[in-house]
Symmetry: C2
């Protein structure tokens, strides 16, 4: 156990909200559009964590991918479309489109976190935007590099990002992050921890806000 | 396709809300406490449907029981306890207690529907109350009969209920109802259909209310 250097000020400051997501998760994308505003309303920041449903859901939990699960797959397609209508979202990617391999984007996320700490949340939102709203295939590394090229305000060199996402350090960071998410009981996308309290699913954001406002029940 | 005898008045009347539940489902119980009030606020009635998660989740979807699913099982225990604190529920049964065989109670439900039509909703609520709040084992048929004995306002003869739940007609009614729920895409508890629109989970009741108020998005 690590003792904080300064327990008094550490207790006064509110811990960041831990936001876990997989880039291939539509519900994770939906939540990514709202989490920063929710955190801000309650004096919090957001710590973004890219994770892999392929590890938590398929390997650890032993479940099928959501859309391949009988009955539930159809419900999810219907529910996600309904969510988009309700929130006025227009996406180039269809929920039923074949999923990309999320690992290059996830590795790029951890490369950004390592080399441009503090920028990884903005980078994650840019990845989500490019994948879901614009419908780009982010398993293609030049599409990942385009994120940096398209938005100079991120301050990320596209070529460094392109090669960095494939580095052993990025692979190792992703493996550690995924293992860490499992250790903390995280299995879904979005999966949110507030001072360790878990909220799974984009349909729990209102509950999360109530928890933040009241400090729990 | 069946043409209504009187399309005009059929169009004016609002269809009942279809409420699907399994007696062993804590989230189904939570929703059962609120569904009638929600329906009433929107000029609807509730059609109660007892179903079996053992068929939908385990046989059709090929999934493990919720509490036996790694990571998710722990989350559900935590989440259900949190729900109970938030809603001030005190239950004799623990979520983690061994589950009963829900079939005797489900057959009793369909016996009541067949022999006391219109009473099955009140009976379902009494079953839920006895199982979750009072912690009784409703796989024991004398405990099911006690429901009728304890509440004469139901107008159900305890002995007739006791033997009727084990009749071939009740077994057949349950089989047909479960098959019908699967045909309609119902897989969870609670699972609610409003004019065919599906809402899965007790965390969707607010969304259901919005849908009822607005007529959809």
């Amino acid at each position: 156990m690590t003792i904080p250097n300064n327990p008094i000020s550490a207790a006064d400051a509110k811990a960041p909200i831990d936001f876990y997501f997989d880039f291939i998760s539509s519900y994770g994308y939906f939540a990514s559009l709202r989490i920063e505003a929710i955190a801000k309303r309650h004096g919090r920041t957001v710590q973004w964590h890219s994770m892999l449903l392929g590890v938590s859901v398929m390997k650890v939990m032993g479940l099928k991918p959501l859309l391949e699960t009988p009955l539930k797959g159809d419900y999810v397609l219907h529910d996600a479309s309904r969510y988009m209508r309700r929130h006025g979202l227009a996406l180039a990617r269809k929920i039923s489109d074949p999923m990309m391999d999320p690992r290059p984007a996830a590795r790029a996320f951890y490369w950004v976190r390592r080399h441009h700490p503090g920028t990884e949340g903005a980078f994650a939102r840019a990845v989500y935007d490019r994948y879901w709203r614009l419908g780009k295939d982010l398993s293609l590394v030049h599409e990942i590099a385009e994120i940096a090229a398209q938005d100079p305000s991120l301050g990320i060199d596209p070529d460094a990002l392109r090669s960095g996402q494939d580095s052993e350090a990025s692979r190792q960071d992703l493996r550690q992050a995924v293992a860490g998410s499992i250790e903390r009981g995280v299995f879904g996308s979005p999966h949110i921890l507030v001072d360790g309290e878990p909220f799974w699913g984009s349909d729990r954001l209102d509950l999360l806000e109530e928890w933040l406002a009241l400090g729990g029940w």
